[in-house]
Symmetry: D2
Subunit: 341 residues, 4 copies
């Protein structure tokens, strides 16, 4: 059996795991105040070209989104996001449970259009009764999106310009950031991305770590009392060094980028194989999530040797499916699939 259901089906990248093993018996202080964590923060800030920033390490993505958004929004504020945003669909109402509305705008294959954001905010401020409406207090986008697509550098710059015009923060969810940056269609660097938003996070869970997400901000002044807020959310890891150790390794010897590159290489090989056999793409994704439309009979036979996700409801004759690659996908895995379609 070969596995393409998601990018969190195996443990850690062997080099990351090795660090956890090597450090297992050391004694350190808890809650992320150890040297491994400081080192990881420094390595990340350096990779991002940020001088006076801050990095905070959390365990998972939903938690990270909830804590960051809870910090940035005032009581009456909402977060603008595409209707397909993970925070809007698959986080069990975590944002609302903290009291905040998600203001959904139309999604274009997972992406927001800057003019839609701009129009929404402009309309809001032109409405006399807006004091009884939810104020747009920040913008959330993901890179790559939930549908595998990525924004161009220009698109992010334009969205960020809208945010600055209205003085609201832009937050980028980078749960799969490694695979976005390594995409052949990506024209933005980590440094550029870090400077074209107020805060973003670097996904570890799906990109080589056992678990862990690194919140990076060039504007620590937006995050007062943040360690307390993380604790209040139950998101402080007692043995915080586990996050520091993993991210230190990910940001040493370019490992994070290599992980992204491998995942993308596998994804492109898979995509090319399907396309060359004439299967249509549901979305033309340049990252590690690939969406094909397959005949139901083909799905049935393929399920015997590969696991992957049916994307939405079954169609009558054909149905969209999702295949996800990651750092652990092998050429053999891909070949096994391609030989069976």
């Amino acid at each position: 059996m070969v596995y393409f259901d998601s990018d969190y089906m195996v443990g850690a990248h062997p080099l990351v795991l090795k660090e956890l093993i090597d450090t297992n018996n050391l004694h350190t202080v808890g809650y992320g105040k150890d040297e491994f964590t400081k080192n990881a923060a420094n390595l990340i800030l350096e990779s991002c070209g940020i001088n006076n920033g801050e990095v905070h390490f959390l365990v998972g993505g939903t938690q990270t989104n909830a804590v960051v958004i809870d910090r940035l929004l005032d009581h009456n504020d909402g977060v603008i996001a595409p209707e397909t945003a993970h925070i809007n669909v698959h986080e069990a109402g975590a944002i609302e449970s903290n009291g905040h509305k998600i203001i959904t705008l139309k999604s274009f294959d997972g992406k927001l259009k800057s003019e839609d954001i701009s129009d929404y905010i402009k309309n809001f401020y032109s409405d006399d009764t807006n004091e009884f409406m939810v104020r747009p207090g920040m913008v959330y986008i993901s890179f790559p999106t939930e549908l595998g697509t990525i924004y161009t550098k220009e698109e992010i710059e334009t969205i960020y310009a809208v945010c600055r015009r209205y003085d609201i923060p832009l937050f980028i969810d980078g749960a799969r950031l490694a695979y976005g940056l390594a995409s052949p269609k990506c024209d933005i660097s980590l440094v550029e991305l870090a400077h074209n938003c107020d805060v973003f996070y670097i996904g570890g869970t799906k990109c080589g770590a056992l678990f862990g997400e690194a919140i990076v901000t060039k504007r620590p002044e937006l995050f007062p009392q943040f360690r307390s807020l993380i604790k209040l959310h139950g998101a402080t890891l007692a043995k915080g060094r586990l996050l520091g150790i993993q991210f230190s390794r990910l940001f040493t010897d370019d490992l994070y980028h290599k992980i992204g590159e491998h995942g993308i290489k596998m994804a492109m090989k898979l995509k090319d194989g399907f396309v060359s056999k004439g299967y249509p793409l549901l979305i033309d994704s340049p990252t590690n999530q690939q969406f094909f439309v397959l005949p139901n009979k083909k799905i049935e036979s393929l399920k015997k040797i590969a696991s992957f996700e049916i994307w939405g409801a079954m169609g009558e004759i054909e149905t969209p499916v999702r295949f996800v690659t990651d750092w652990s996908t092998t050429d053999d895995d891909i070949n096994t699939v391609l030989e069976n379609i």
Copy 2:
């Protein structure tokens, strides 16, 4: 000047005010445990044909919506509502501030379609990942809607059947209930409405009271600890009898219905006047909110003698406007407008 901005621009109906004056110097216990409040509850339950129900009196509509929805939803549940719902647009995020997502469905002139509700819930339960999605936990509709329209008896019955099939409550916001029930297009009685939902409220603020909304339920078992929850929301009126006194009067000698009838009579006269002069309707509303499309020049001149609301952004040549009548609108008020168009 004649006033059509909204239905909360004057004080109380004279007969209601008289009761407040007559009882002013009496001593009673607080927090709605007095005899006036008990009497009002009994009168309302009787009018609704409910034997073992409960009535709770609150001061305002946003508060009422927030408290009822907070009681009915479990942590992870959301409330299905039309995208135009007052709770979604003009209550400053009150529902989300209590931790709940509003699941918005397409609005048809303010109304939900039962099949849309049914489809949404069916899809939710057919999705394998629904444990990480917000569960549809109740349905909210308004009668009349924010756009003046009303549901037919059959429409409400069908929506309620969907709710019962999935065992989730139906809540009807009746901020303007008097004007809905008195509409010439209304084919549902108060008794029928009370039995075709789990809880609804009878609006007082816009229908003759100084303030006040009466929550009515035939299923008190859905509202455990409700008085405590009302207090927790800061929604308990110390001199609770003020609500009891007003609603006792509104539900004596058919006053609530008469108020509705008068408001509707005035609205229909206004509508007929505009229509007969050839002005188009934005929405064909059968209740006390009337929406016309007027040339901007006409709006300008009319503004000198009447106040009313511009509905949305100004158009280049013509613009929708809203006129609202209520129990205090006079024939003279209407004539003044009609003579000037």
Copy 3:
């Protein structure tokens, strides 16, 4: 029967009611944007000697406490209050329901000691692990307290000095403010009180209004987006003018002070009567709540002609009771009681 259970058992002071009657048929805009409300705010700011302040009118006390505290505290902050504070005991957990801990300090007949506040905050900041503790973010006291006592001017000044040293706001709950200011033991004026805290509220419900509390602050910068937050809490009154009309009258011709003086005159007469007959005081209250210890037999006979509150559990032989006077208490009411003890 004569009534001493509480100070919210009758309607409005006749002069306040008269204003509501006289204005009943006028048309005004809603939500407190009318001229009556502006006028009331100006009259209050003038009475408080505040130039650039703000006044917001809400319906009830629990609501007012919740909204003010929710505005002033950051996520991880708590409010310091005496263990007997109304917010800690009788508001159904409203403060916690908004996410905030009440940090309770020892109560001395309802009052906080400034050194206890100072010690608590000093200890907090000297604890290495305080980032995982709730930060003291403001101080709440009431004037008069829930036990009828009042702070001296010096006590309030000292508490306020502690607050300023640590840069946290002081909030004074003035639900019964009229009776505090009119007390023979009161050595602080309204102007002095207004300047020795960051925000306080002037109670209307218990001091002559049908309902209503006026939040007064000399520091509007602490209350950004406040009208939106009030709406979010369901605390915006549609016919907001009802609050403006009442407070305009209360702050015209010294009515608010006269109401306080009358209530106090009655309370002192009652107290003197009990004391002269040898009944011990539970607390030596200088305001409109009086606490006596009566033999159970006396309580039993007195209950036949007067209603009042048993204060806590019944004792075996004697039991504390509470009598509350207000603007509506008459000499006859007092005499009836005194003749029966």
Copy 4:
């Protein structure tokens, strides 16, 4: 240097780590729906003698407390806990941030007295105004407590009897459960503990795991929609198997108990050493946290070779300190300390 600051200063027990290494490259489904997690749950239920129970695995203790308490309490309910409870002191207001008051009772070296619980609840229900007070909705205790003490079997049975009398759940925080059960003073078994409460958690983070806590309940009906609520709290681990793998090992070959026994053996050796040299105990703890009172000069010299915690503020001459042992403490570590006192 030898380390006694806390029981979360190293990685995982070598046998636990080995399992993580051995399984690292396997593919499994996410979110705890894998076979390792099912196996761990079965092993735990078997150890607890529970037939129809449920186990849920979370990452950390604060998170676990917050999620369990949020599930068990209705809006207006509070949780009874000793004033020294971790949830009351060191969790940054997590419980209140979910809307719930902590009702604190007097702590006796970290423990509640059953009669205090009983008295509190009885008083609550005898108060006429209790509908405006926070209802005691559950009881939280820890085993061992934050001060190292443990309840006797009889004490827990009595507390649980009070809870059943008032039909409210008892929740036991077992962050350090292994060390409690292995204490020479412990007269309750895991099976007995599991049956004398409604829900408890088995601490992994401090007892051999990298991280992880196992919530165990014999009453799954108290936890509807629990997986959704965990997700909403951001507490769902994507690679949930990491928890299953660790707890499977901890509950194989009695490892969890052996870990406890070792930690306790080290703690008793340390305690005996201090006591035999005449140092007084601050608290006579029978578990892995030991509290001594040391002369400040001794503390100063000891700090050169051992790290441990100053317990509270420094005294003038002598000061309480805390030493914590765990599964990783060695005889050499203990000897190093004892040779230096």
